[in-house]
């Protein structure tokens, strides 16, 4: 939360010889943490319990599938929170990276479904004679898994170096990313022989898992959950590190950072590429859960929706972004079932409400309440006098 608590923690831990040593104060220090850590840690434990034990036991296979999809979206959301909330880069085109990861995975799964030496099914419909050279390397599962992360990160790094070096920022950057997502969709639709066009790519197995079997779907659910945990921990480590502070510093005063001897381009590229990598992983997991990836799930509209989840959940908080992705998508499903055309209006209203009344999203409501409590107290008899303002605007909670 702040350096002073970390300092005391480290000072105590050091003479004990390493962080993992169970000593008298070990449980309190490592598990319960400081006073500020208690609420987040309890929340984390409760949510983990719900997702690991309660959800698989209580939900039908259909609902668990939906939950798995929301968790995949949460992986994208964590990346957006890092790039946008912490780094100030409004990424309006995460569909691009989501799509890159998704198509890489779908290509491999289609080849795996077709069998060695065979072509994917859709290619016999389009009349291609040979497997295109672009597809060949994706027969290898290892290459595929590497590319799921590496390809979006490489594209983002290249893009970032070009864009950030020429000091493109703010709305210009946002529009640029969005245009790229749109261009990617046009490319996919145009290269029908290579990509399946608007139909996209369908898959039926995932590394030996049969996606029609409920027990295998449960395994997939746990894989998604594990990946989300890893992604969350990576983002949390980045946010809490010096790099995380530097990222906030670049967001708030890029010139000051530059004249402190850092290259803001590097700082931003790292966050942007990490967010892209997370979107790529999410896209790759989206494929087996939904069974298909097509341009409709990664164009401009889906890309904007991704940002809305994070805005609703709280863009400076990684946990808030996850909550936002889960809640908004849950609401979308529920409302669409009850009133098919109502969701668009509800989503618009939700976004307006968040922008107008809770700019820090759900995760910022607590901070907002603490800062404005005395305003409401004024109207009550025996009101307390102005409370000292507390809490940094960065919202330190990971």
């Amino acid at each position: 939360m702040n350096t002073s608590t970390d300092t005391t923690g480290a000072a105590k831990a050091a003479p004990a010889g390493g962080t993992g040593t169970p000593g008298p104060g070990w449980f309190k220090r490592r598990v319960i943490g400081t006073k500020a850590d208690v609420v987040p840690r309890i929340t984390f434990a409760v949510v983990a319990f719900l997702l690991i034990v309660v959800a698989p036991g209580m939900l039908t296979a259909f609902r668990l599938d939906l939950l798995a999809k929301y968790l995949v979206f949460a992986i994208v959301a964590v990346g957006i929170a890092l790039a946008w909330g912490r780094g100030g880069m409004l990424v309006l085109g995460q569909g691009l990276f989501f799509g890159l990861g998704g198509y890489v995975m779908a290509m491999h799964l289609q080849l795996a479904d077709a069998g060695p030496g065979e072509k994917p099914m859709f290619m016999s419909l389009t009349g291609a004679s040979d497997l295109p050279g672009l597809w060949e390397p994706f027969r290898s599962p290892v290459f595929t898994l590497v590319m799921v992360v590496a390809l979006p990160m490489a594209v983002a790094t290249l893009l970032g170096l070009l864009v950030f070096r020429s000091r493109v920022r703010g709305p210009y950057f946002a529009i640029l990313t969005q245009a790229l997502a749109a261009a990617f969709v046009i490319l996919l639709v145009g290269q029908q022989d290579l990509t399946g066009g608007t139909n996209g790519l369908t898959v039926s197995t995932f590394f030996g898992l049969d996606l029609a079997k409920n027990s295998d779907k449960l395994t997939l659910y746990f894989i998604v959950l594990a990946v989300l945990l890893v992604v969350f921990l990576i983002a949390r480590q980045m946010v809490k590190s010096r790099y995380g502070q530097l990222l906030v510093a670049v967001r708030d005063g890029e010139d000051r950072v530059r004249f402190l001897g850092y290259s803001p381009t590097t700082v931003k590229v790292v966050a942007f590429a990490t967010a892209a990598g997370m979107a790529g992983v999410a896209g790759a997991l989206f494929v087996p859960i939904v069974g298909i990836i097509s341009p409709t799930s990664l164009g401009i509209v889906p890309s904007i929706e991704m940002v809305i989840w994070v805005a609703v959940g709280g863009r400076v908080s990684m946990a808030g972004a996850i909550a936002g992705a889960l809640l908004v998508n849950f609401a979308k499903t529920e409302l669409s079932e009850a009133m098919p055309s109502g969701w668009l209006y509800a989503q618009g209203l939700l976004f307006i409400l968040v922008v107008a009344f809770a700019p820090r999203g759900l995760a910022g409501v607590g901070d907002w309440w603490r800062e404005n409590r005395d305003r409401f107290d004024r109207f009550r008899p025996g009101a307390r006098t102005a409370a000292p303002a507390s809490g940094a605007a960065a919202g330190e909670g990971a």
Partner: protein, 283 residues
């Protein structure tokens, strides 16, 4: 330079440091036809507090921008410790030992005071080191907290600081980087007399191991804390590397500062146009 300079000392010449660590020669810059700086020469020696004064629009901040790499000069050179600074990227120049502050104090308001200082102090760290969590307080950060008097507010967000404290924090951040040349752009603007004195003492402290170039409007502040003074006027050096007494006695400087109100704007631009043609001839 001796440590007794920490107290507000009268102006003096330092004969022990004849070799200027900062050498600016023939510097000129044009912004879309406007000659902002013309043939500027400036020397600053190790450990001196060198003031750069002049009326609004004299090109003081432009000069700082050129030294730190923000603006590229049209002509001339800036040599610091025998390294040419022009042409380097801003963050490279910082790594060569040149730090700067901004006219409006720029600190990271969402971070705490200690975090601001820690980030500044970590500027030589690689990405792998930066990705680790900060543990403990570096000695440079502790020193900066002590010197700037911000020790009690170390864990408060920098956004909650008063105006003067933000300026000190910014200077403190630069101090943690152990620069050899520090450029301060109007460090006492908007400060109370008390705060000015404290800022001056801070500048004196910094100058123990560092050359300080201060851009200032405030003549009183200059009188109290300057070793050497250079006066700029309309992009040209009016008085180079003088003592405070010399500057105060100079009738031309007096004219520029006091007779400034009589100037009409047109004559300024006409003069600028005239210098434009003369530099082309000399070049």
């Amino acid at each position: 330079m001796s440590t007794d300079t920490a107290t507000a000392a009268p102006t003096r010449r330092d004969p022990t440091a004849p070799w200027p660590i900062l050498q600016i020669r023939g510097l000129g810059v044009t912004f879309g036809g406007f000659q902002a700086l013309t043939d500027v020469d400036l020397d600053a020696r190790q450990g001196e507090v060198h003031f750069l004064i002049g009326p609004n629009g004299a090109g003081k901040t432009t000069l700082v921008d050129i030294i730190t790499g923000l603006t590229k000069p049209t002509t001339g050179s800036v040599r610091f410790d025998d390294v040419e600074l022009t042409g380097h990227k801003e963050h490279r120049i910082v790594h060569l030992g040149v730090g700067r502050s901004f006219q409006a104090a720029t600190v990271f308001e969402a971070l705490t005071v200690a975090e601001n200082l820690d980030i500044a102090a970590s500027f030589r760290m690689g990405l792998r080191g930066l990705l680790r969590q900060a543990r403990g307080r570096r000695p440079e950060v502790a020193e900066a907290l002590e010197v700037t008097g911000l020790h009690d507010v170390a864990d408060r967000p920098a956004g909650a600081l008063a105006h003067g404290q933000k300026q000190w924090l910014e200077i403190g951040m630069l101090l943690t980087q152990k620069p050899r040349l520090l450029l301060l752009d109007e460090p006492v603007a908007g400060m109370s007399p008390d705060e000015r004195t404290r800022t001056g003492d801070l500048v004196r402290y910094v100058a123990k191991d560092c050359t300080v170039l201060v851009v200032e409007h405030d003549m009183d502040f200059m009188r109290r804390f300057a070793d050497r003074v250079t006066v700029l006027h309309e992009g040209k050096v009016l008085k180079a590397d003088a003592t405070v007494a010399e500057v105060q006695a100079d009738p031309v400087v007096q004219e520029v500062y006091i007779g400034r109100a009589k100037d009409d704007r047109n004559s300024v631009s006409r003069a600028a146009a005239a210098t434009d043609t003369t530099t082309e001839e000399t070049a």
